[in-house]
């Protein structure tokens, strides 16, 4: 897939030093393009560090509205001398390199096939500003000005954004605007502005928002009616609870009394966080915990307990690179199998895979319904890419008629009418028992235990009684498969594609773009995006209908493929792994290259046979 930069179709990458205030400047730049009606994709690659290590921000300007990284870089804003060498190497031929020319140009900054533009950002800011901290911060705003001039970004839009950004500190508006002007004017005076590739106003962002998955998921928890959140801080899930908290402070605090309609508990560790969720949920509140892989490892014992004792749990796993603490600020889909089978004994758990922040919102709401309907843990498997990057998505929608599905819960009136309540009996034949909430009625009491219990909810060490419960749990699970968010299938033109792709979560944007591009080149591939586990019949049918299916995922060990092989009767050789696990968000370039090669290889093999 070759990308050549064009109007509204190019990538800028900004290389900065962590902790210098660059991320708000970069966000401003992206937002300005979005406000001009042009779709954007933003990716923040940051280190596990507060100050000093390199960080990158990538902005893809995509008039066509693609949802992923392309994999190329057309303009590099190199503000970190320590990474000059790799930053210039990353630039596509014909690209533009912008750097701070305050200091003599380093030899690494030369490449015959790119245009090098130097602006004395530090020098300009040192002359214009006196405070040491503003000199550092304003350098960022100065390059925003230069980039705006080069790319023809509307200065009015930039000014408006600055005004909004510093609405609470009006003094800073002028300061920042001054810095932006320095960069802007310098570019106008010294370079041919605008460049050939630049931003041109469109109206393709109507009805769209730019939001991070974690903020959207936190909002989903509010809309689901969650009242208890327990967590232990871990990147990249922290901002999900920060989001929930901010939404609650805005929407759930009584204006007169200051009383809260919620309780957020920062636990001492993830073991406690999940215990709190379990206690709250068992006691009838909607409760959740956001975490990442290392947290799930710690929560495992409780997760098994909840599965067997049938307590609803909602967990958000914003996946990051593992194993262990890995590269904690890079993305991966590495927890699929761990979550599917978390804990000891015969346990299996429902998984939901949002592909973007819009689904973080909607699947968050669904997760509570599913957890309570099936009285079991439900994992929403997001990742850093979705959780912590701003994505352009359709405006979130809500149906005021929607009511939570609290599942099978006996009320005081129900209990009053009955002789005796038995916690784990399969009354309706669907494998789902009825539960009661503590305090409801004297007849509602039962003793919850992780150890052997029979259908009546009493302790047992009787083999047959124990097995009866386990078998019912399996039936409950199997019945759920067709009632979870279904896969989404995109059938290639002509409807007779020999090959298929299966992907999930944050891979979606890259796969969609690569499929569209391949279709133009004459390669037609069907694509199914899995959105939940257990798998519905549709998944096997999709694989059955193709000669080969490429399973694209962001981990080394082909975890989804493994899950498919374990949970279905599909033949191994039909499922071909396509794996990306560097920690960078998946690029459409990669998918296009890999799938085209696989399809071509399969076709050639056939010809020679």
């Amino acid at each position: 897939m070759s990308f050549s930069p064009d109007i509204n179709d190019f990538v800028i990458k900004l290389a900065n030093v962590n902790g210098t205030g660059s991320s708000s400047a970069n966000g401003l730049l992206m937002k300005a393009i979005f406000r001009m009606g042009v779709p954007v994709v933003g990716k923040n690659v940051f280190p596990s560090n507060i100050q000093g290590l390199p960080t990158w921000y990538e902005i893809r300007v995509t008039g066509e509205g693609h949802m992923a990284r392309s994999g190329t870089v057309d303009m590099m804003v190199a503000m970190n001398a320590n990474t000059y060498a790799r930053d210039i190497a990353a630039l596509s031929p014909g690209g533009i390199l912008l750097y701070d020319s305050t200091w003599p140009r380093q030899h690494v900054l030369s490449r015959a096939d790119v245009t090098v533009l130097g602006v004395p950002f530090a020098q300009m800011c040192n002359e214009a500003f006196s405070a040491a901290r503003s000199r550092v911060l304003m350098k960022n705003m100065a390059y925003v000005g230069t980039v705006a001039a080069l790319l023809d970004i509307d200065p009015d839009v930039v000014r408006e954004l600055v005004r909004e950004m510093f609405a609470a500190k009006p003094k800073l508006i002028d300061l920042n605007m001054q810095a932006i002007s320095l960069g802007y004017e310098y570019a106008k005076a010294n370079f041919a502005c605008p460049l050939d590739f630049r931003v041109e106003k469109l109206n393709k962002t109507v009805g769209k928002i730019m939001i991070e998955g974690n903020a959207a998921a936190g909002l989903g928890c509010v809309y689901a009616g969650a009242t208890v959140g327990a967590w232990y801080p871990i990147t990249p899930s922290t901002s999900l609870m920060d989001g929930f908290k901010a939404w609650c402070e805005e929407l759930r605090v009584d204006k007169e009394t200051g009383e809260h309609n919620y309780c957020i508990i920062q636990a001492e560790d993830e073991l406690a966080a999940i215990g709190m969720v379990l206690g709250a949920s068992w006691n009838g509140a909607r409760a959740f915990t956001p975490t990442s892989g290392p947290g799930i490892s710690l929560m495992s014992e409780f997760i098994g307990f909840a599965y067997y004792a049938e307590v609803p749990l909602v967990l958000f796993d914003v996946q990051r690179v593992g194993p262990s603490t890995g590269m904690p600020t890079r993305t991966q889909q590495g927890d699929v199998q761990m979550c599917a089978y978390a804990s000891h004994g015969d346990t299996r758990h429902m998984l939901l895979f949002p592909a973007h922040p819009g689904e973080c919102f909607s699947l968050a709401v669904d997760a509570f319904d599913i957890a309570e309907r099936y009285q079991t843990p439900v994992f929403v498997l997001s990742d850093i890419d979705i959780g912590m990057n701003d994505w352009m998505v359709d405006e979130l929608e809500w149906d005021d008629a929607r009511r939570p599905d609290r599942g099978k819960v006996y009320s005081a009136a129900d209990l009053e009418k009955m002789d005796k309540f038995y916690r784990y009996r399969d009354v309706d034949g669907d494998g789902i028992p009825y539960r009661t909430i503590p305090g409801t009625h004297p007849k509602g009491a039962y003793f919850t235990r992780g150890s052997g219990h029979n259908a009546d909810g009493a302790y047992t060490e009787n083999e047959a009684e124990y097995q009866e419960v386990l078998d019912r749990l399996k039936r409950k699970w199997e019945n759920a498969a067709e009632h979870l968010p279904p896969p989404i299938t995109h059938t290639a033109k002509g409807g007779k594609a020999r090959f298929g792709i299966i992907a999930y979560g944050s891979s979606d944007g890259a796969v969609m773009e690569a499929c569209a591009k391949m279709a133009k080149e004459g390669i037609h591939v069907d694509y199914m995006r899995i959105r939940s586990f257990p798998f519905s019949q549709e998944v096997s049918q999709f694989v059955d209908a193709h000669e080969q299916v490429f399973v694209i995922e962001q981990n080394r060990d082909a975890q989804m493929r493994g899950l498919l092989l374990l949970e279905t009767e599909l033949p191994r050789e039909k499922l071909v792994p396509v794996l990306h696990y560097s920690g960078e968000p998946l690029a459409s370039h990669f998918v296009h290259r890999e799938i085209s090669a696989l399809v071509n290889a399969a076709s050639q093999k056939e010809e020679s046979a």
Partner: protein, 351 residues
Amino acid sequence: MTSFAKPSINLKNAKRNKLGLTRRDYEGAMSTLCAGCGHDSVTACMAKAFFELSIEPHRAVKVSGIGCSSKTTAYFLSEAHGNNTVHGRMPSVATGAAAANTELTYIGVSGDGDSLSIGLGQFAHAIRRNVNMLYVLENNGVYGLTKGQFSASSDIGSRSKKGEENLSPPIDPVSLGLSLGATFVARGFSGDRAQLVPLIKAGLKHNGFALIDIVSPCVSFNDHKGSTKSYAHTFQYYHPAVHADYVPMADDIKTSYEDGEAVPVELHDGGMIMLRKLDKDYDPQDRAAAYAQVAKRAAKGEIITGLLYVDESQKDMAAMNKMTATPLNALPYESLCPGAASLADLQNRYR
């Protein structure tokens, strides 16, 4: 087996509480602990305390960890929900449950292994949060259920049944509670019901985290000569310092107490805890002094008991979190979901 259904016998002339319930209504399944186990005495005291306080059994919630002690929540209040969680993690489940509904009475039952080893972190943090619950630690100095290993509360020099000597210093839940800011710290003995029942009642009525460390001997693995948690040893070194009675609002305090004999502590429900000093040097309302006294007695090998510290003025978890008075699990969905119009509105910041 952990539990058998108990035959229900109708006692015609049984004493009834304010709800018209009898002691039987506060019992649970039949215990499967060893005959003579201290934990069974504690269970009986729990049932008695609830009966005397006229708490509706189904408005109580019992949570426990894992161990012989933790099993006992099945043996009282069969009309209350119970949650026999996982080893050492009961405090977190209690915390979450208490967050979901502030109107029920929460009781946690744990052991010294459950609370002081695997669960030390959760135990400490539940104290810090001042979760509104009664926390009963049935302390026998061993792991009963796994057959007699030393626990973290074993004293230096105490010997196991096999003759092994414990060399590590003990973790004392009372000192720990005092140092962590616990708002109600008591110690009892399963062999002294007259002291224990009122302590449990006071603990149930305390607003906040009420810790009762109860020496509760394990007859199978830690009741021999050389053990500092045996019945004999405990009786010998037992030192009651402060007696506590719970007095409900309606009762006339004057009739049962002579002036100056007892110090009243006012409770949130309008009732009182009457503190009666048995040791005149002891002040259960001065944390630092209490801590010093507890340490002094421990150094002498004495087992100081009673209501050792109480502070009714601290905010509990619900208050610290500014939670509404309505239980969170009873809030109507309409009051929790901001609706479509708000959603459209709040997204302006993302445009």
